[in-house]
Point group: none
Amino acid sequence: MADGTGAIEPSKKAKAGGIAGDTLKRYLERIERLEEEKKALAGDIREVYAEAKGNGFEPRIMRKVVSLRRMTAADREEEEALLDVYRQAVGV
Amino acid sequence: MADGTGAIEPSKKAKAGGIAGDTLKRYLERIERLEEEKKALAGDIREVYAEAKGNGFEPRIMRKVVSLRRMTAADREEEEALLDVYRQAVGV
Amino acid sequence: MADGTGAIEPSKKAKAGGIAGDTLKRYLERIERLEEEKKALAGDIREVYAEAKGNGFEPRIMRKVVSLRRMTAADREEEEALLDVYRQAVGV
Amino acid sequence: MADGTGAIEPSKKAKAGGIAGDTLKRYLERIERLEEEKKALAGDIREVYAEAKGNGFEPRIMRKVVSLRRMTAADREEEEALLDVYRQAVGV
DNA sequence: CTGCCATTTTACCGGC
DNA sequence: GCCGGTAAAATGGCAG
């Protein structure tokens, strides 16, 4: 650990497979559980897009709007301005 | 919408900014709410890694382990598929 | 093969490891060679973006422009129009 | 560009639509040319799969095999990394 | 035309 | 704090 490369055996209290191993396991299980929930939410989001699509809205465009709403007004305007500059430069 | 260009005003019920606009807004708000929850979970996961790091475990390695655990199922399937290929190749 | 599951032993002419195996191997090698070339081109593209960045252009925006140029004028205008509709509907 | 907002007119040499615009255009054209080649290779690869299919090989399985071959190097590295983890865990 | 697979884009994380 | 690489998500293309 002194060399900064180590991973297990935190604070020299125990060796892998012992108490530290149990601690590590608990961390991993907490992480995996949280990741499952996260994955479930991703599924929920997909479902909402699908439902919206069923009502005539285009998910692709909806995503763009969500993305725009996520940005601050300043950032959004700046990016749009720069894009305009590039577009004019190449004539699109 | 018969012209294939539109998306808003599903079922001819309303125009943008009207009822359809409200519907769209509701979808977007549902999505944004779910994304917030998802983001919160991502934050929780980060915290667990940070806590583990505080106890001497290296997040980088932990991520590797999580990844390996996750891939196990997929790899097993891959391996079974390959086994099938070989079985078919030899006609068993 | 009649059951639709088989892959090797095409036309019942040979068994894996034999002529068919050689044929398969040749196909795989052709594919792998082409994929290497493809990967090299991807590297070249990355380099161009990096060079442009070094001259003050933002790759992120450049990619958007490339994407716009890829679309037909009609598609591009339609998409922009629809995005405007959605944006107005939710007030972005 | 001292204000960090600009990108075009690198080194204050020109304005959009001018020299900088030409430079940008050249970058975009290089990129688009490379992408065309890349796309052509993708088409070639697809053709090889199609030809193989015509000779009784299943593209789906072939892709799996190609993928497995490709992953071998990565897996080997992964395995070595994991070995390192274990070595560190036991302090060898 | 729906679902799958590949590619591309986006977000995240550790290093400098 | 930026930047590069790495993993997740989304978009697009293709077969069935």
